[in-house]
Amino acid sequence: MTESTYRIQGGTGEWEVVIGLEVHAQITTNAKLFSGASTEFGAEPNTQVSLVDAAMPGMLPVLNKECVRQAVRTGLAINAQINKYSRFDRKNYFYADLPQGYQISQLYHPIVGEGKIEISLDEKDPDAHGKTIGVERIHIEQDAGKLMHDQHPTMSYVDLNRCGVALMEIVSMPDMTSPKEAAAYVRKLRSVLRYVGSCDGNMEQGSMRADVNVSVRKPGDELGTRTETKNVNSLRYIQQVIEYEAQRQVDVIESGGDIVQETRLFDPDKNETRSMRSKEDAHDYRYFPDPDLLPLELEDDYIFDCKASLPELPDEKRARYKNVLGLSAYNAAVLTAEHETAIWFEELLETTDEPEKIASSAANWLTSELFGALNKMGLSIEKSPVSPQQAAELLGLIADGTISGKIAKQVFEIMLETGDGATKIVEEKGLKQESDTGAIEKVIADVMAANEDKVAQYRGGKDKLFGFFVGQTMKAMQGKANPQVVNELLKKTLGDAG
């Protein structure tokens, strides 16, 4: 573990930044938390609203058990305490996007207690630059609807599609001390959520967003007063908020002012945060246990089943890739960061009985060739036009010497364009590598005959000319000669004659 050295340089010296994040993650489920309404993204406004979501008189919430299961699985994935007794509370406030006049949440008894998340600050050497970030709690709550202010000159419209959608609020400890750490935390949390399958982590669609708590202090001092910037929905914005807020707070304090505990909003266009409401104007939410819902009590067997349903998680997987498959630390980190990448990689390995033999070369190929190609095409790995099985075929041709690494790049490009298999392409295009010593020797003899002067120079000690002979031989064979055989034969022939 290394100490972060992120510091704000103020007029009175260095300042340390303390960051805590409350991440709201939409739980992956087809139905809302307390109503049967659909949760599909992007539907026409107010088409996914049940009587319960619209808070019609006499309507009652019924807990969606899948949301509970996903929250418990998420808790288990971060080694958190699962609270066998939890309860729902009402958070009361008036707003047009909140039809009930209260949000059902869990204040007093959250479903998940303390856990932790390991983050890495350097992908290339994750183990040497790790840090543990504490998670204080995870609770389940309803999302609100959405107000649309741009639909009418004097009125605001309300879209209740999101209203009642299930969220997990994942509250970190104030353990982060730099924008980079905060970003690493969110990235890792998103990775874990996606492995678990409890949230798709899609920040653009609002499936994941963060309330960013920032305070500053002189290193070693007590915690300063914090501000909370609401609903920040990208990794870049989270870092910008921290940078801006830390600097703003230092400026305020150093010019003799006090930081007010308040809620702020981020304006990405101006790259600044603005006060939304101060503590004095803060709502009194009048939390109390929701009498429409019974306390939630979980059995040991249920928790055990949730645990058993978890896939191999990124930390375990990364260790296995490194220690069992022999991958470099970097490759292990890159291939496990996203669950889909790991799944793709493992499907590739499944084509052989001895995965450790091809793992390293496959990993190198994936992180360079495949990632490069996908990046260029703007595709995610699930959308890759080349399947893991096709990739295995290609890598197999390299391994058994049928084609060279250089030809393989050419073959791969054709695969991406046509979707054809590597073997078919190699045969049709005649790209098969020539390893027949007789044929190569014949070409070498021709090359030497045509370049007697250079042969003489080489034999006279100009070793560097060796590359020239390799190039000429390969060129004469249209690049299809096995380079290793060419090397061996050239050495022999040039040496022999000398």
């Binding site: 008189p57 309507m59 008036f94 039809p99 209260y102």
Partner: protein
Amino acid sequence: MAEIFELGISGIRSGIASGDFSAKEVAETFIARVSAAKSLNAVLVETPDHALAAAEATDKAKAAGETLGKMAGVPIGMKDLFCTEGVATTAGSLILEGFTPQYESTVSSNLFKAGAGMLGKLNMDQFAMGSSNETSAFGNVISPWRRNDGGNTDLAPGGSSGGSAAVVAGRIAPAATGTDTGGSIRQPAAFVGITGFKPTYGRCSRWGTIAFASSLDQAGPMAHDVRDCAIMLEAMSGFDPKDSTSLDLPVPEWEAGLKSDLAGKRIGIPKEYRVDNMPPEIEALWQQGIEWLKDAGAKIVEVSLPHTKYALPAYYIIAPAEASSNLARYDGVRYGMRDLPDGAGLQDMYAATRESGFGPEVKRRIMIGTYVLSAGYYDAYYTQAQKVRTLISQDFDKAWESCDLLLTPTAPSAAFGLGEKSDDPLAMYLNDVFTVPSSLAGLPAISVPAGLDGQGLPLGLQVIGKALDEQSVFNAGLALEERAGFVAKPEQWW
């Protein structure tokens, strides 16, 4: 033979079964009774077509030889707290004026499935908050009863199910639905000389019933007698997956289990229910009740419910707290009334709508509830009240070690005159002193008409039972009913 309008549920059932009359005749009889009783102001919306359609369905089913539902051919009154599909539902409030649900509450739906028809939506205290019906936004219901002093003072029918009480007592409907949060079935039943039953919390689904205080609200029947209540409760109750607090238990056959022989039953008499200033007539009636139950074979034991005196204060914290949150949805945004002054923003619209849409008693309780949940007061009020609630439940648990049922008066007085207590909310709240503890504990309880006071007004006795033991409550109620021989009815003046 009795006139049709004098019949209750079981009387109508046997008349239809024996072919003495058709369900249609029953419906027409009561539809006429409803239109003739407008001066009582008990019915907010008349739904004769609904009653007729249900009656025709019953007649058709009977003609086809089909088995009839428990409530076949019985046209009932529906408290306006139940959302009824296509029929305006206001909970006695202005803020819901113009609201017509697109859905049917589980309780009303269960009753209709059992063959009942609906005569109309019944007036009530606004959002079920009141004990006299005077908080209704549409004017109070007038009790069909009058004092025997020759005067014509309008009396309160009790509340909040005052419309239900009035139509059943006036034989304007053979039965009606009620809801009980702190006594809103039992107190009005006692005031008008009918039988009212509040089941164990969770027996009747709350889905589609406009919420007052969620942890207390329970629907129940208001009818002529114990048997009718048993029949109707069987039809109303049952597990509903749409209500998380609904009990996932089969509905017992209470009617079939009725028996007034109480041999082996121990009846507890809670000493803390002897309150100051209780009228001697009520005290005497209670004593009479004890004798009747002894006569039915029960053993009488004195018990103590030591935290009784804290029940009312705790109730008037918990119920308003829940109400303040439950009523937040009436904001003028999606349905019901909207008061949007010129140039008003969202907050102004909320304020204006809720200012003009809620009556004074509802506002009072929203303010109390908001206060007791506020930061800095929550622990002192709400948390303490919840502790008291637990202690009260434990009082009952302790009592059940030495008895099976409790006998108490239903209310500390007979019906009072309209306007007599409306200026004094605390005096009004005291009406619930005997009914609130069992509500806080979620226990089943019945009010049975047992006698008249000196002014010729009905008085009720209450039997409280263990959770889920509705049968014993019905049976003790039946024993009282048989011995009390209560036949008094209000003389028709309306």
